[in-house]
C-alpha cells in the first residue's frame, strides 16, 4: 500500500509543474494544458485523501472537477481557436487587448 503522503507529494509536484508552466510558457495551448495538469494534480490529492480517510466525498469531488475541466476545455479551446483565427498567433504575449 503506497502511503498517502507519497501520493500527496506527487500531487504537489504535478501542481508545481502546472503553475510553472502557466507562468513561464508562451504558447497558449501549452498554458492551457498546464492548467489541466493543475486540475488533475488537485484531483490526485482528492483521491489520495479519499482513500486515506475511507471517505467517498473526495471521490465525488473528482467527478465535479472533471466535469468543470471538460467544460473549461470546450470554452477555452474555442477561445484559443478564435484568437488564432484573428491574430494568426498563439503567443500569449501578443494577447494584450485588455491593456490600458
Amino acid at each position: 500500500m503506497i502511503p498517502v503522503s507519497h501520493v500527496l507529494t506527487l500531487s504537489a509536484i504535478l501542481f508545481g509543474i502546472g503553475v510553472a508552466g502557466v507562468i513561464l510558457r508562451r504558447n497558449a495551448i501549452v498554458v492551457f494544458m498546464c492548467i489541466e495538469l493543475m486540475l488533475n494534480a488537485v484531483n490526485l490529492g482528492f483521491v489520495a485523501f479519499a482513500s486515506g480517510m475511507q471517505s467517498m466525498v473526495g471521490v465525488m469531488f473528482v467527478f465535479f472537477v472533471l466535469i468543470v475541466a471538460a467544460a473549461e476545455a470546450v470554452v477555452g479551446l474555442s477561445i484559443i481557436l478564435a484568437i488564432f483565427r484573428n491574430s494568426g498567433t498563439l503567443n500569449i504575449e501578443e494577447f494584450n487587448l485588455l491593456r490600458w
Binding site: V22, I92, F95, N96, W100
Partner: protein, 643 residues
Amino acid sequence: MNEYLWLIPALPLLGFVLNGLVAPRFGKGFVKVVGPGVVGLSFALSIAAFCEMLQAPGQSITQHAFTWLESGGLYVPIAFVVDRLSGLYILIVTGVGFLIHIYSVGYMGDDDEYAFWRFFAYLNLFLFFMLLLVLGSSFLLLFVGWEGVGLCSYLLIGYYFDKDSAATAAKKAFVVNRIGDFGFIVATLLIFMNFGTLEFAEVNARAPGVLAAGGGLVTAITLLLFLGATGKSAQIPLYVWLPDAMEGPTPVSALIHAATMVTAGLYLVARMSGLFVLAPTTMAVVAIIGAATAFFAATIGMAQYDIKRVLAYSTVSQLGYMFMAMGVGAFMAGIFHVMTHAFFKALLFLGSGSVIHAMHHEQDMRRMGGLLKHMPITGYTYIIGALAIGGVPLFTAGFFSKDEILWQSFASPAGHPLLWAVGAVTALMTAFYMFRTVALTFFGESRVDKHTAEHLHESPWTMTLPLSVLAVLSIVGGWIGIPHVLGHGVGIGNALEHYFEGFFAKVPAEVAHHEASTELLLMGLTSVLALGCMYGAYVLFSRNLARAEALKKALSPLQKLLEKKYFIDELYEWVVIKPVYYTSKLLLWRLVDVRIIDGMVNGVGNGVRHVGGALRIIHNGVIENYAVGIAVGAALIFYFLVY
C-alpha cells in the same frame, strides 16, 4: 351664520385667477368688471361680517374652515376671525381697496391690454393676501399673508419692470422686508416654544401667566416682532424701501404703500398688545423709534421735489406717529390713525396720481403749478386731504386721530412730554410740507411746459369718484373718535373708545390725572401753529417762490442734507451693502466656495485619479504577470489559512 367669512379673502383670489388666466381671452372690458367687482363683493361681505360681529356674543365671530397642520403639539387650523380689530381692518382694506380698484380702471386705462390684466391680477392677489393677514387666527396664517403681501408689493413696485429703477426698487423692498421677516419668524418660534400654540387669542390670554412681566424673554419676543413690524411698516432702520417703492404705479402706492400693507406692522403690534404691555423696554423702544421716524421722515419730506416722494416720506412719518401711539400704550389711538390715514393718504396719493396722469407722467413739482383751474375736482379733493393730514381742527379726520396720539403721548403713563414735543413739531412740519405740495402743484404761476399744458384735463369719472368719496371720508372719518373734552359739552360720546372697550391690553400703571384744561391748551396750541404753518407754506410757495429760493439758499447745507435724505442710502450702501457684497465675493465665493468647497470635491476626484494612475502600471496586459499574481495570491492565502 358665519360660514361666509372665507369668501371675503377668497373672492379677490378668484379675481386673481380670472384676471390672470382667463382675461387675456376676453380683453379689457372683462378685467374692468371683474377686477373691481370681486373687491366690491368682498366689501359687501365685510360690512355684513362687521355688523354681525357687533352683535355677536364675545364681540367676535370665527369660521373654522379646515385643519391645515396637525403634527405633534403643533395644530394650525385655517380659521378666520372677525373681532373689533380685524373687523375695522377688513372694512378699511376692502373699502379703500374697492375705491382704488375703480380708480385704477381710469388710471391704467391707457396701458396696453397685457399690462392691464396683469395689473389687476396682482392687485386682486394683494387684497387676498392682505385679508388673509388680517383675518387669520394664528401667527402662521398671518405669516402667509405677510409674505404674500410682500410678494405682491414686489411685483407691483416692479410693475414697469423694463425700467431699471423700478426693478431695483422692487428688489430693495423685498430684501429689506426680508430682514424684518427674520425677526418675525424667530419671534413666532419663540412663542411656539413657550406657549405650545400659535393662536393669537390663546397667546394673548395666557401671556401674563407664561411670561414674566418685564422679563428678558418677553422683551426678546416683542422686540423681534417689532423688528418684523419695522420692515413691513417702514420704520427706522428699515424704512429705506418705502420711498423707492414709489416707482410702482400710483394706485399701488395708494393702496399698498399708504393705506393697507404698511399698516400690517401696526396690526401685528395691536394684535399682540397682550404681549407688548408686558415688556416696558420694548414699549419704550417702539415709542422712541416711532417718534424718531416721524421726525426724520418729516424733515426729509420738506425738501423733496417729486410729489410722490413727499407723500412717501409723509407716509413713513405718519406710520412713525402710529407706532409712537402704540409705544405709549395707546393702541386705540394708533388704530384710529391707521384708519383716518388710510382715507386721507389714499386720497392724496390718488390725487397726485390724477395730476401725474394729466401731466403725462411728470412728477416733479417744479414743473407744475396753477393746476387748480384745469382740474378742479382733483385739486379740491387734494386740498381736503392736505387739510386732513395737516390736522385742521374740529372738522377733519386727521385732527382727531392726530390729537388723540399727541395727547396720549403726553398723558399716558408710558408717555413723556419729550415724545409730545417731537410729535407736535412733526405735526407742524407735516402741515408745512403738505401745503408746500398743494401750493406748488395747484396754485401760483403755471410752470408746465407748453406741450403738456395743451393737454391738461380733468380725469375721467372713474378717477374723480373715488377721490370724492375719500374726501368725504377724510372729513367725517374722524367723527367716530371725538375726544371727551370736546364732545362732552355738546353731548357727543367717543364712539371709537366705546367700540374698543376692553379690547386692548393696558399698560399696568396708575393713570395720572390731567386737567381737561391742559388737554385743551395743548390741542389749541398745536392746532393754531399747524394752521399757521399751512398758511405760511401756502403763501411762500404759491406767490413768493423767489423768496422760497432765497430761503433755500440761506439754508443751503441743511437743505442739501435733507434733499439727499441724510445720505442714509449712501450710508447703508457703505456700511451694509458693500461689506456684504465684498464678503460674499472675496471671502465666501473666492475663498470658501472656490477654494474650500470646490477644492474638497475636486481634491477627492483628483486623488482617485492619481491613485488609479499609479495603480494602472501593474495592469500591463501581460498574461504571465497576472498568472504570477494569481499564484502568489493563492499561495499567500494558503499560507495564512494554514499557519
